[in-house]
């Protein structure tokens, strides 16, 4: 058997090497605009973290009152190092592309990767998500001020060189608050969607695998929940069961999760139903494996693709729902600030100090948009019919 070695597209080496100096520059110069801009954006974040973090490392690492080392700062340092590695690895890859044999080149995984990487809007979304996640993880290094300290500046002043996004009514720096608030907003999105994916997968798989009455009852439940206005249901549950502090935030995450699994359940059910009749499952059944093993080892993993797509879209929807709850006064309890809470803070002074709510609103918008674009990209990359288009 002869092995044909296939090269990925070779870039002009001189221009590509510019990337080693500034990751992303190489991509930009060799015509890969999306990757160039995306990577430059991430490089920008990295440089910002480097400059603002290492010039005052002591202040970043330790709690000013107690002198203890902050765990968040450690996470930030690790992220910083990891990001550096990833950026220069990407730049180096452009200079010396991978060499793949034919089999690897045509593997499903490789095709998926290639399609996704060429998907312009999908990659925009991916870079957007990466940008936000990194900003948030690097927050202690980037944020110029303590997000919760009042009177860091005069109250309600507009954007300036010192306060990039202005200050709020309490003289807190809006930019620092966005960085730290994003941690909660994004975490709520990820955790709630993780929860809904778990419930949805379980319900969908069980319904499809067992079929019959179980299927009908579960799918009817899905129909009922889908027919309720989600925000009204969320409001009612949070309003009735309201608690404070850490429990309050947990309640919101759980409620966001348990009110959004229906879509995933339908997807998983559909996938499992079609997979059930495929040869490998029939084979497993013939081998006498029990239902549990077939479900968990064969059916569910194979249905995960569409679930991932849905999750990406759902994170956006969840962040929007969380923001709406805050707007209606039933969001995350203070002092925890999320982007939704921040938009709400800026509601009354909207006329006199619009930046207080406009910037966090934009943060939500960018996050949701990125997740939606990424989700679309993932779907297109997974859909064999669309491969090679885009």
């Amino acid at each position: 058997m002869t092995r044909v070695v296939r090269h990925e597209q070779q870039a002009p080496p001189a221009l590509a090497r510019a990337g080693l100096l500034l990751p992303g520059l190489g991509h930009l110069l060799t015509g890969q605009a999306v990757h160039g801009i995306g990577m430059l954006l991430l490089t920008g974040v990295w440089l910002l973290a480097t400059v603002s973090g290492f010039t005052r490392l002591g202040a970043v690492l330790t709690d000013p009152t107690t002198g203890r080392i902050l765990p968040g700062a450690i996470v930030a340092l690790v992220t910083w190092a990891g990001l550096a590695g990833a950026l220069w690895f990407g730049a180096w890859r452009l200079v010396s592309p991978r060499q793949l044999d034919d089999e690897a080149f045509n593997s499903n995984r490789e095709i998926f990767r290639r399609t996704l990487l060429r998907h312009t809007t999908g990659m925009l979304g991916a870079y957007g998500v990466a940008f936000l996640v990194l900003l948030v993880l690097l927050a202690p290094m980037i944020a110029p001020f303590d997000p919760n300290a009042v009177d860091t500046g005069p109250k309600a002043v507009g954007p300036s060189a010192m306060f990039w996004m202005g200050t709020d009514e309490l003289g807190r720096d809006v930019w620092s608050r966005i960085l730290f608030g994003g941690r909660i907003s994004l975490s709520i999105g990820f955790i709630a969607v993780g929860l809904s994916a778990t419930i949805g997968t379980a319900v969908g798989a069980v319904a499809a695998y067992f079929g019959g009455l179980v299927d009908r009852v579960l799918m009817f439940l899905v129909d009922v929940l889908l027919s309720l206005p989600r925000l009204v249901l969320l409001l009612t549950i949070v309003g009735l069961f309201r608690t404070q502090g850490a429990l309050g935030i947990l309640l919101i995450v759980v409620v966001l999760g348990v009110t959004s699994w229906m879509g995933i359940a339908r997807i998983v059910r559909g996938e499992v139903l079609s997979l059930r009749e495929r040869e490998f499952v029939q084979a497993a059944r013939a081998l006498g494996y029990d239902a549990q093993r077939i479900l968990f080892r064969h059916l569910i993993p194979n249905a995960m693709g569409p679930v991932m797509v849905h999750c990406s879209l759902a994170i956006g929807a969840t962040m929007l729902a969380e923001a709406s709850l805050s707007f209606l006064g039933l969001g995350v309890p203070p002092p925890i600030a999320t982007w939704g809470v921040m938009v709400d803070d800026g509601r009354s002074p909207l006329r006199s100090a619009p930046w207080i709510s406009i910037f966090p609103g934009m943060a939500i918008m960018i996050a949701v948009l990125s997740f939606n674009l990424l989700g679309d990209g993932l779907r297109d990359a997974m859909d064999p019919k669309l491969r090679g288009h885009q």
Partner: protein
């Protein structure tokens, strides 16, 4: 086919508006009145039956539909003016109040307002099935909580004890319910009575239209038979319900509403610059913010701790930051008790608020034993941290800001404050049940002195209703009892001043300030009398000069 039916239903309904109509004089206007006042309100009214209303939005509307039994105005103290009662007098022991009534006041439909209506109203209040929020008004009224009718124009109110006369007058001055309309109504479901949204007026204005959550229209009552000085000059008053503050502000600046209450200081600054046609009026010293310490909590039972926290809180700084305009105008003054400075002569001006001094506060806390022994930035004593929960209600931007500032001030002396916001209704019930650690809330000052509900110790038979912190000082109790038994205000004033000093010494609350409310009014309105009683108290006197009329119809 089904589609067609659904469409027809949609359009059919939307034409109807679902509003309630009270048809009066066919929309024709009363002679001598002109222009329309449009008020931007945050919430809709809940109830229009006088004895059942609960919110200030309700009272603002209802107050203009009635002609008071005894009217009042405020100037250092409440001054009583004749209303339906032409004259009134107390007997020697202060337990009987006699009144002579006018016989010419009529309900909107022409039926005369009689002593029977007054008695009927009080029967309703006293009947527990009605569930009137004014039930406690009749607790000290005897017999049967209703007035004794001597003859058609004379009634007597009998009280079980003699107590503050202003309070007595407020207790007997409830708005009236027409007996001829509600006599046979089912009392348990009075609030939902078919006529609940068609109140009969006996005051300067009448209800022309109420479209729930949208608008409520008042027009002059053509059959008003009270004194001419109460006859309105405006041809319409419209209350628009706009829940969002920023939307209300947009409508104010666009000239679509003429009056808006509760302006933020920053917006007042801007409006002063950009909108010369809008006049800003300060409504003073009625509202106070405070932080109450739950005295049953071991953390707060040492007065030195409470004093230390008062010294660690930079109250003037907060006023500077939260309630001061760009031009340096302060919209609040530090408070020392629950008696408003507007009650001149009774308010104790000699009590000076504790000065901001975080170092002294730390020293005082150290004296009690609170030190940061494990160096974590939070004070501790016997292994317990000095940390507590500060609860406040949602939906109040000013309080949220104040809470965050207070948290910051406390952090500077090593006290950890966790802020908790809960929805107003449950917050106030928690306050009454004393289910909180520290609470940031506020009073609306009484305009006569009756501090017993706030400061009196609990007695075995009755929990002191608004004594949220569980305060109890026998000396203060003695002063209150003595003050209430004194009928001449000149004699009771020194007692009240003494009481304020004693309470401030005990620091059961951290009194923050009395703040001014900023009211924006279109400048075409003249004769606008906004006093501490209420913004719309004398709406009948407002008028617009003929050359400035904005709405012709």
């Amino acid at each position: 086919m089904v589609r067609m039916v659904a469409l027809a239903a949609l359009w059919g309904c939307s034409g109807g508006d679902g509003g309630s109509h009270v048809d009066g004089n066919g929309g024709g206007k009363v002679a001598g009145t002109r222009d329309t006042l449009v008020i931007g309100a945050q919430s809709d009214i809940g109830q229009l039956i006088p004895i059942l209303n609960e919110t200030s939005a309700d009272s603002a509307v209802i107050g203009n539909l009635e002609f008071p039994l005894i009217d009042s105005e405020f100037d250092c103290s409440l001054k009583k003016l004749p209303g339906i009662a032409k004259t009134w007098e107390w007997n020697e022991d202060g337990k009987i109040l006699r009144m002579e009534l006018r016989d010419d006041i009529k309900w909107e439909d022409g039926t005369p307002v009689t002593a029977e209506d007054i008695a009927f109203t009080y029967d309703l209040v006293a009947d527990p099935t009605v569930k009137s929020p004014r039930l406690q008004f009749v607790e000290r009224l005897a017999p049967d909580a209703r007035p004794k009718i001597i003859d058609a124009t004379h009634i007597e109110w009998h009280f079980t004890t003699a107590y503050d006369r202003d309070t007595q007058v407020s207790h007997v001055g409830l708005g009236l319910v027409p007996k001829h309309v509600f006599a046979d109504a089912d009392r348990a479901t009075l609030r939902g009575h078919p006529k609940h949204n068609e109140p009969l007026s006996y005051g300067p204005f009448r209800l022309a239209k109420w479209e729930p959550n949208q608008r409520l229209v008042l027009e002059p009552n053509p059959n008003f038979s009270g004194p001419d000085s109460y006859k309105p000059h405006l041809s319409r008053v419209i209350f628009r319900v706009i829940p969002e503050y920023s939307a209300r502000l947009i409508e104010l600046e666009a000239g679509k509403i003429d009056l808006m209450e509760g302006l933020l200081v920053a917006d007042a600054d801007r409006i002063r610059e950009e909108h010369p046609e809008i006049r800003l009026v300060r409504k003073g010293w009625r509202a106070q913010d405070y932080i109450g310490w739950n005295l049953s909590n071991p953390l707060f039972n040492d007065v030195r701790v409470r004093k230390a926290m008062a010294m660690a809180a930079d109250i003037n700084g907060m006023i500077e930051k939260v309630l001061t305009s760009k031009t340096g105008e302060k919209y609040a003054r530090p408070a020392i008790g629950t008696i408003t400075p507007a009650l001149c002569g009774v308010h104790n001006d000699d009590v000076k608020p504790l000065a901001y001094d975080p170092d002294a506060a730390k020293a005082l806390l150290a004296e009690v034993g609170w030190k940061d022994s494990d160096n974590d930035g939070v004070l501790d004593k016997d292994g317990q941290k000095f940390a507590f929960k500060l609860t406040t209600n949602t939906g109040n931007k000013r309080r949220a800001d104040v809470a965050a500032r207070f948290q910051d001030d406390m952090k500077k002396v090593g006290i950890e404050v966790n802020i908790e916001k809960i929805e107003s209704n449950s917050f106030f019930s928690d306050l009454r049940e004393r289910k909180f650690e520290a609470a940031l809330s506020g009073w609306s000052a009484g305009l006569f002195v009756d501090p017993s509900d706030i400061w009196h110790c609990d007695s075995p038979e009755k929990k002191s209703e608004f004594n949220f912190t569980g305060y109890c000082n026998p000396e203060v109790d003695a002063l209150i009892d003595q003050g209430l038994a004194t009928s001449n205000p000149k004699d009771s004033a020194p007692l009240w001043r003494d009481m304020q000093a004693k309470i401030y010494e005990d620091q059961p609350y951290l009194f923050l300030w009395w703040q001014d409310e900023i009211v924006a009014i279109d400048s075409r309105f003249e004769n606008v009398k906004i006093d501490i009683l209420s913004t719309l108290n004398r709406l009948d006197q407002w008028e617009v000069p003929a050359d400035k009329v904005k709405y012709k119809h």
